[in-house]
Symmetry: C2
Subunit: 209 residues, 2 copies
């Protein structure tokens, strides 16, 4: 799945493509939310809701799961860009913590949690195994943007065990924190839970005393 | 997906069920390996190859992806049992390292790598996004056996962020190590790579110097 990196200034053509991609993704999320999931939704429904042809849909996404996870993947992409832009002398895990938090800080209307719209989106994503798996697949992929950003910072190859393991583990504990947040009957604040999960990871899961 | 834990002595009925489950899982793997993947395989093909009715297949597995990943999930289940049986005073990460290695030590014919049959199985699992996602879904699940084993050892609730994050991160870095091993043109030894990934995790990914 292609995303537009904030690293270089995008052309007008790229901006138009991004706009179309987001419109399709948002239509997929809306349809999924209003129909209790994606099971009965066809890609032609999504295309129609987004005002594009089925062929255009297929130019942008391989299937409905890719479409509905795009906004989440975009957050991961954004986090990778933030990681690249953090000061070079900042300790790696401070930079990672800041990078993973940034997309949520921008989308949250308040410090306590995601906006109702983002909550509904997350419930759709994490209530559906096939969708959640699609997210994890991106994180584990050989060409994960986050792994590449970690590799650049640490001066190693993108495919190195270190960089890929960091990216996979960061995604795994972030997803775990989100899943716990969504399943909680009286969820506390959102970002502190993600931060706590990343702190555990950075500490080597220092055994609780 | 149910698995039989080694914790309590299984009944004859449970052993028969386990035998059927494994026969279906092995048939799914064989069919997938001989057809370049699972795309064109139907659950009725798998049932026929395993010598059971389609209805029996459905009693054991929700779909072909669950069937083909069962043996891998069984290894995770076995690792959780090993973790439970490690000495209580052993440091957590020593116990985890031993637990994750154990299923591979048992199945590998030599210290350098998995047997050709296991290699073929892993190539099938990790060459297929939908299958790999199914594995990760198990690891991230609220009722992950490995998370429960970690929780028991550390005296916390199974759903706690700590226990679930450990389980998710262990699965993520193990999968990353396996994926790197399978994609390598001249793969080195197998278990040391998994061990290295777990060591990185236990060290909080101490930044390479």
């Amino acid at each position: 799945m292609q995303t537009v990196s904030s690293r270089k200034k995008p052309s007008m053509r790229e901006l138009n493509q991004l706009s179309t991609r987001r419109a399709i993704a948002d239509a997929a999320i809306q349809l999924g939310m209003h129909n209790g999931g994606l099971e009965s939704i066809r890609t032609t429904d999504i295309a129609e809701a987004a005002g594009v042809s089925p062929r255009t849909f297929n130019n942008y996404f391989a299937n409905k799961y890719e479409a509905v996870t795009y906004r989440y993947v975009e957050r991961m992409q954004f986090a990778a860009d933030v990681l690249r832009d953090r000061p070079r002398d900042e300790p790696l895990w401070d930079a990672i913590r800041a990078a993973v938090r940034e997309p949520w800080l921008r989308s949250a209307e308040n410090a306590d949690g995601p906006s109702p719209a983002t909550m509904a989106e997350l419930r759709l994503l994490f209530g559906h195994g096939a969708i959640q798996s699609q997210i994890m697949r991106e994180a584990l992929a050989e060409n994960s943007e986050f792994a590449r950003a970690v590799a650049e910072r640490t001066g190693m190859e993108a495919g190195a065990l270190y960089a890929r393991s960091v990216a996979a583990a960061v995604a795994a504990v972030t997803e775990t924190a989100i899943a716990i947040f969504l399943r909680s009957e009286a969820p506390g604040p959102f970002l502190p839970l993600i931060t706590e999960a990343l702190d555990l990871l950075a500490s080597g899961f220092a055994t609780p005393s």
